[in-house]
Symmetry: C2
Subunit: 320 residues, 2 copies
């Protein structure tokens, strides 16, 4: 998908806005500084521990806006329903979206519903497109990353993907792995309000922490080194990953982000993030060493260093 | 779908914005007057005489914005691709979207691509969400419709649906019926610039002219009477409809709209619409008789009057 976007779709849609290469696109209209982001959700199963396709569709787009520093205001919703979908299922999803929107302080302002033939579609697909306002003029994105920035994560990684995978595969653990699906805009707003000079934000969705780090380093042309031992992974998630031969750093999250800030603000930033339930386990995982390389290296506990690469192909299909 | 929206989704998403009951939702952000609209496109076949799913997805959302009087600026694009879709097919659609966006003067600023398993999905589904700016403060919508307004249509009706249907059914006519798929925002902008006091606009998509008239009359609580003989229908379209037992007034269009304006401006409005290729056959089809009834009556050539009703169920599935 990354290749598809890069080689086919982005060049065809080339313009200064699409060239931003970030989760959300910033633009101005009648003097207002706005951001827009769109995402389709095709996840299986529709309901999973810690969320469902509805709450996910709200959190995901709210988070994409937040990653550009925008405060999310409005969402549009597009449903594609397969003929025969139980009305009760749709109702549960609609109610979940409403509750998630209320929790996030955003309004679902316009919608569209299409019905496709039985056998086409897969129960329900949901598209959400979000509009937010950027209160500050600073650009938050890969191009603002500087040498000597530190890289933080807002919590433990790999939960969402493993919650989905465990349910699909019928795996049982001592406790149920719950998705981390959660809105992140409150944390971002708090950091901005407290004067944190955020250089870049990236939510750790498809491709997980590894993809986020590699994408940002490539775009920013910086060398990031991370300390593998510092990356928080819940014990059950680590166990499930080992069982299935997966790397928790490559598993999708839906309520986690990486944050690039000046080293001098690292401690204060972590204090602020940890005040939020979704940020309790925030910690520093690495730093930007120098410019002009565009790679990520990972240092293991025994001191071995390797270059991280994005996974090609799909490790876990249809998890978001 | 109309019932689904009315009974389930709108009440669950209730807020002053979703209550507008119009193609696009108007809102303000940082003092800017904006509009947003979303639509998913699930049409079969993907390519048809006069367009394809890509150009349709651009025109459709541009038109939804135009119907609120907004000038469309930016579109987001969400693709849901079925595994195994030919890259050549995707490329044709992407190029068609780019060309349609250029023609409309809008930018495709952000996108998302999801791939679903083979057999789920149906080749490709496209969601477009559009952002526009409202230059004038007047509200264009059902609530602005007044007694003594006239009702105009911007061209002949029934082409798009019959173009799709003819291709699906393998019907052959002397000439190919081409879809009317076209952007309408240029016409709307011209009317606003020339000082036409547009009260309401509605594009004649799903459910065709009949649904547009009935929906607006119900919301505006007015009695509209139309003159059946005045409604322009292309000869081939009329023939195809007779063959299939369809009413051209209920067949979807993708480049046609109904316009409610004060009677005194009817002639000037028609002159302006007819300057556009998509508006050459514009004409007056009816008028608003009085308030507080919320019905549409149709007077036939021999003077018989009947009440128009929206079709329930789906006359033509997946034509947009």
């Amino acid at each position: 998908m990354h290749q598809l976007l890069g080689k086919m779709i982005l060049p065809a849609f080339d313009n200064p806005h699409s060239r931003q290469n970030h989760d959300a696109c910033s633009f101005e209209a009648q003097g207002a500084r706005l951001a827009i982001s769109t995402d389709s959700y095709v996840i299986r199963p529709l309901f999973f521990p810690g969320g469902d396709i509805g709450s996910l569709a709200v959190h995901g787009t709210v988070n994409d806006l937040a990653m550009s520093g925008a405060a999310p205001l409005y969402l549009s919703v597009g449903f594609i329903l397969e003929e025969g979908l139980a009305m009760e299922t749709l109702w549960r999803i609609v109610c979940s979206m409403r509750a998630a929107a209320d929790e996030c302080g955003v309004q679902l302002v316009t919608g569209d519903t299409k019905v496709v033939d039985r056998g086409k579609g897969d129960g329900i697909y949901v598209n959400t497109t979000g509009i937010g306002v950027r209160k500050k003029d600073r650009e938050i994105g890969p191009k603002s990353v500087r040498t000597d920035d530190v890289v933080l994560v807002s919590g433990d990684v790999g939960r969402h993907g493993m919650a989905i995978m465990a349910q699909r595969e019928g795996l049982e653990f001592e406790s149920t792995i719950e998705s981390d699906s959660a809105p992140l805009h409150g944390i971002v707003e708090s950091l901005l309000n407290e004067g944190i000079d955020i250089h870049c934000l990236r939510d750790l969705t498809r491709g997980g922490l590894t993809s986020a780090l590699v994408e940002v380093s490539e775009t920013a042309k910086v060398h990031v080194e991370i300390d593998l031992a510092s990356i928080p992974v819940h014990e059950e998630v680590r166990g499930a990953c080992e069982l299935l031969g997966l790397d928790p750093m490559q598993v999708a999250n839906e309520g986690r982000m990486a944050v690039w800030v000046p080293e001098i603000q690292a401690t204060r930033t972590l204090e602020l993030i940890r005040k939020f339930p979704a940020g309790e386990k925030a910690c520093q995982i690495g730093q930007v060493l120098n410019k002009d390389t565009g790679i990520v290296t990972a240092r293991s506990e025994i001191g071995v260093t390797r270059v991280l690469d994005m996974i090609s192909g799909e490790q876990l299909p249809r998890i978001c």
